[in-house]
């Protein structure tokens, strides 16, 4: 059904001289129409539903009328209007991104007025008479390591290795740069060195107790500090004295046995040979019993 003629009859021709016409702002791209005419308060209050309905009808008529003036293409379902790009400026949903914080070098350069120069990746090699990469595979910066002949100073050490020195220097430069990069990065994210220290300590404390025995049987490293902030727990003062006595006796007996292991009673034993040490070396640290067993099995083998 073609309604264009019907619409055309009271379309733009009728509205051209309408003073309200200029109050409609059309944005076909968003399929939006805005009526900027001030609302007549009396009329609106008299019948709210009706006034809104009327306003909506008129506005949508304006929009639909405008759509028919747009260039169109044919399709199986009928004609399709080609919408122009939207003109209405929608407000931004997210805040503007913050400016990236300047690195330490950038700040220094800005202060000194140093301009950034683009550095070519390629560099002219006089020897090869061609352009080579400044770094990377077969890069120019590896020249000191890859050259076939090295100059060695006359007073150099025996183990002087110019190739290694050059490589170490290069690696040090890279490492330095990496470190600076990390520093800049951490600085830009607003993390202080103290935070980092605390984080490390926290991690350390976690790892200490992350064993099957909750760290009870771990060997203490030399210079390792006691974990801080852990409250010590004591037995209550009015604990049963019997229990306490039992504990003390058990502890005492354990101490006693320890001391016996450590220092056997060698008084009066003035022999030249240190038997214990001899056994230890002979059994390769496995003890006298193991040594006896070994000897025993050896004998049996020889018998066979």
């Amino acid at each position: 059904m073609d309604v264009s003629s019907i619409l055309g009859s009271f379309g733009p021709t009728q509205d051209d001289n309408d003073p309200e016409e200029s109050n409609y702002i059309l944005d076909a791209g968003y399929l939006t129409v805005t009526n900027t005419t001030p609302i007549d308060a009396d009329l609106y209050n008299e019948n709210i539903e009706q006034s809104i309905e009327q306003n909506a009808r008129e506005s949508s008529q304006k929009l639909l009328g405008a759509l028919f003036h747009l260039p169109s293409t044919a399709s199986a379902d009928g004609r399709l209007a080609l919408l122009p790009p939207p003109t209405f400026a929608l407000p931004r949903e997210k805040p503007l991104p913050k400016a990236k914080e300047m690195t330490k070098w950038e700040r220094f350069a800005a202060a000194k007025g140093i301009q950034k120069k683009k550095r070519e990746k390629k560099i002219w090699d006089e020897e090869k008479q061609e352009w080579v990469d400044r770094w990377g595979w077969k890069g120019k910066n590896k020249e000191g390591e890859t050259q076939w002949l090295h100059e060695v100073p006359s007073n150099a050490d025996v183990d002087h290795d110019p190739r290694k020195i050059a490589r170490d220097e290069r690696k040090a430069r890279t490492a330095k740069n990496e470190k600076q990069k990390l520093q800049n990065l951490s600085h830009s994210t607003g993390q202080s060195s103290n935070d980092r220290k605390q984080e490390i300590e926290r991690t350390l404390a976690t790892t200490r107790v992350s064993t099957a025995s909750i760290g009870k049987f771990d060997r203490q490293l030399e210079g390792e500090k006691k974990p801080r902030g852990i409250k010590r727990k004591f037995e209550p003062t009015e604990v049963s004295a019997e229990q306490e006595k039992k504990n003390a006796l058990a502890l005492f007996s354990s101490i006693n046995s320890d001391s016996r292991k450590k220092r056997p009673e060698t008084s009066g034993d003035n022999s030249v040979i240190n038997v214990r040490k001899a056994i230890r070396t002979a059994s390769k640290g496995q003890g006298g019993v193991a040594l006896a067993r070994k000897l025993d099995s050896g004998k049996r083998k020889s018998k066979r």
């Binding site: 003062t237 604990v239 004295a241 006595k245 003390a248 101490i255």
Partner: protein
């Protein structure tokens, strides 16, 4: 006031065992009354259970001492025996040294025991063994550590040191302020 932790008990027992050896069992397991060790303001007290239970009522800042003070823990966690423990040590001492009357005063002024002052010594005392020092009429005067084994002392000259001084009863006068 609180009971000792395992580490602390270990420190105390090893120190005591140096002087009284296995007799320490008699201190822990007494036939007459149950006694216990208590720590109060880094001092170790050896006290009967009944006394201790009464002393619980005394607030921590107001409690000065209870029973017998055995010694104190240093800030680094080492235990130092005080002269006040002498009573119990003298009762169970394994190795003893008696000093002559003319050696009493020098020892009580904090000097080491010289060979000239040595009256008697327990046989077979090894080197660096904790010993209790007595006067000739069996009054305990202090304790120390032997510098030489008993056998070696015979060869020494009279001015050489036999027992290194550790504590003596003269400290009651000299160190009254620091001892308690």
């Amino acid at each position: 006031m609180r009971p000792l932790t395992e580490e602390e008990s270990k420190a105390v027992f090893t120190k005591l065992a140096n002087y009284i050896g296995k007799n320490l069992v008699h201190l822990i397991d007494r036939p007459d009354e149950t006694y216990c060790f208590r720590l109060h303001k880094d001092r170790v007290f050896y006290v009967s259970e009944s006394s201790m239970r009464l002393a619980i009522s005394v607030a921590r800042p107001n409690l000065i001492s209870l029973g017998t003070c055995f010694g104190k823990f240093s800030k680094s966690g080492k235990f130092k025996l005080h002269i006040t423990a002498l009573d119990h040590m003298a009762q169970y001492a394994k190795f003893k040294v008696w000093i002559k009357p003319n050696g009493e005063m020098p020892f009580l002024y904090g000097n080491h025991v010289l060979k000239a002052h040595l009256g008697r010594i327990t046989e077979d005392t090894p080197e660096h063994q904790g010993v209790v020092v007595y006067s000739m009429n069996d009054v305990p005067l202090g304790f120390g550590v032997t510098a030489r084994a008993t056998i070696d002392t015979r060869k020494l000259d009279p001015t050489s040191i036999i027992v290194f001084h550790q504590a003596d009863v003269g400290e009651y006068l000299r160190d009254e302020d620091t001892l308690f």
